[in-house]
Subunit: 363 residues, 2 copies
């Protein structure tokens, strides 16, 4: 039997999320961004990065620690380059920074074909896929990477975790072609540390080559797993390195002390990199059979998923199905456990509790 | 015992390569580009993409087929975007196109911070890592992807090969920091089809999840392996899709008929995408302890490869070691078998044969 979900009106969800952020000292705009992004994640079925996770991360690494400074003001760094901006986020809430950065990249891409925004002194933006999905729905090719909060991943052939789970996220404007944007979005570890803990609770073995024990030896025992491994051996290792190197060029420092704050003169915050390309800036304008660009992309994808591959999924398809279900139900879908957790949030910020009984059950 | 290599003077190698290209109808500039790139690959120990491979591919898919048109003229497509160009390569030799595209990207990056060149109607550029390595040695962050010649890779959860081995190549200007550029460069399949054939000859099993049989079932038997799989499951599948989607936006068509020429009104050529970013365009200028950008990147890499990870390699390190060996020996290193194969090339274009005896043995 599938899990029961309750339909929480988005307004109600957003009001609680905004109150929670305001209570922690964030300003109105930051709180609105945090609420909007939490709704976006839930609408697309990304339960690992919903509002509860956002507030939990903010507590652990953000305003509850030294990682995030509510109401911080971002500064634009002087640059001689027209299509590239660099911002010092001063540890402002990641969602507010990411929304603004993608917006600026879109303006730059409209003007120059491509635009980048690099962000120093950043705080966790939660789910990179959300920002590039949003840009892709608006018709743009978008990319982001960031250095993850903690060094949990062991380099290929190494023993000790010195890399973050360093995700990459690409979004492509394929809504006209196939009904939704293709969003390729994942961490460069095989699995997340949260997944290791979940499998430990469930008494299930890890997949092979996902984790190592305290001596750097591969293990599938979740009780012995201490550090993560990159996916795909040296290839995933290279992808994880990209985020560290890009951050190193921006202004990020020592990976192993990231998010581990002290007055040691080092820098401890992650970095973000964003890029948007206008699809017209790629087009040679000569598609087979006189097709439009979108029709051509549709044709390419149909060939890839033809020939017996009809059961394959495209990245972003599951999220699009979740969004359709949310829309059909007219709200955001949460489990009873999630609603109970939102009531802890409500208690923290003095808002009225929710009751599963007040919400209709999702179809 | 390690293999014996002979030191071929680069001038001698390049003269033969140029003669071979000229004999096939390529113009002087194309021939010089082809020779230069072959030398570059060999100098860096990239034996899978040396001059012999270049000429073999040209025979199979290039000027010996319909894939490459010697002395073709490229056309720049009109674009309203200052930082992005689009070229119709008209199936000109890939190496000549790629060198010119990276050069133009560098000019654009110098001006705008970032520049892209997208190429329609392309022919195989051999080894993407070489172009981004060259740009990185000159101080730039460079990236390229392309659609590979043939659809040999089965999508994740699929049965039939509809994707190319679609490589990605990133180069970072880390020479000042660590002595060589970091170059992350690989195909999105676990292994190449050439490797399957090599393991078949050697009677060695394939790694798991690298290939499937004719029914789409995973196999480690090289005799049964018919199609390849992406590395890292859905993650490598997503990376392979990126190249097909980008090509679809540029002007590429049906993946399964790529390089399979017919008068069917479809387009059959691969596409290239190039991007260069000036490292100053990422810099927030505030590195911990007042370090320079390069010193900061060096510090980040030292942390990653510290803590017991001292035996890990950085991508590009093996190629840098090969280049140092080539330099020490004062030429390009080839095995006796490779020299014999060059003599087939010499016979084809009426040049004098080489003899291993005329070359000194490499240290």
């Amino acid at each position: 039997m599938s899990e029961t979900f309750y339909v929480v009106p988005e307004d109600k969800h957003n009001a609680l999320m905004e109150a929670a952020y305001l209570h922690r000292g964030f300003d109105a705009e930051e709180s609105a961004c945090g609420a909007r992004f939490a709704a976006y994640a839930t609408r697309h079925g990304v339960r690992t990065h919903n509002g509860l996770k956002a507030l939990h991360l903010d507590h652990l690494f953000g305003s509850g620690s030294h990682g995030c400074v509510p109401s911080a003001k971002m500064e634009k760094v002087e640059s001689r380059f027209a299509a590239c901006e660099v911002w010092n986020a001063n540890r402002k809430l990641g969602q507010a920074v990411a929304y603004a950065a993608i917006e600026r990249c879109i303006e730059l891409a409209d003007k120059y074909g491509v635009g980048t925004v690099s962000v120093d002194n950043a705080f966790h933006y939660l789910w990179g896929g959300g920002y590039v999905m949003d840009a892709a729905k608006r018709g743009y090719i978008a990319y982001t990477n960031c250095t993850a909060a903690l060094a949990e991943v062991v380099p290929f052939m190494g023993k000790f975790p010195t890399l973050g789970t360093n995700p990459h996220s690409w979004g492509f404007p394929t809504t006209e072609a196939i009904g939704y944007p293709i969003v390729i979005d994942w961490a460069t570890s095989v699995i997340a540390m949260g997944r290791v803990q979940q499998l430990l609770r469930e008494g299930v073995q890890l997949p092979p080559n996902a984790a190592v024990d305290e001596n750097g030896q591969p293990t599938t025992d979740p009780a012995k797993a201490k550090y993560l491994l990159p996916f795909g051996g040296h290839k995933g290792y290279g992808l994880s390195l990209i985020n560290e190197i890009v951050a190193g060029f921006i202004g990020g420092s020592t990976p192993t002390v990231r998010s581990r704050w002290s007055d040691d003169g080092d820098k401890h915050a992650p970095c973000f990199f964003f890029q948007v390309i206008h699809p017209d800036a790629l087009s040679a304008g000569a598609f087979a059979g006189g097709k439009t660009q979108s029709a051509n992309v549709k044709h390419v994808l149909a060939d890839i998923l033809g020939h017996g591959n009809e059961k394959c999924l495209l990245p972003g398809q599951i999220e699009a199905q979740a969004a359709a279900r949310s829309e059909k139900n007219g709200g955001l879908l949460f489990s009873a456990n999630e609603i109970a957790a939102f009531n802890e949030v409500a208690a923290e910020c003095g808002q009225p509790a929710w009751s599963a009984a007040e919400f209709k059950v999702a179809q």
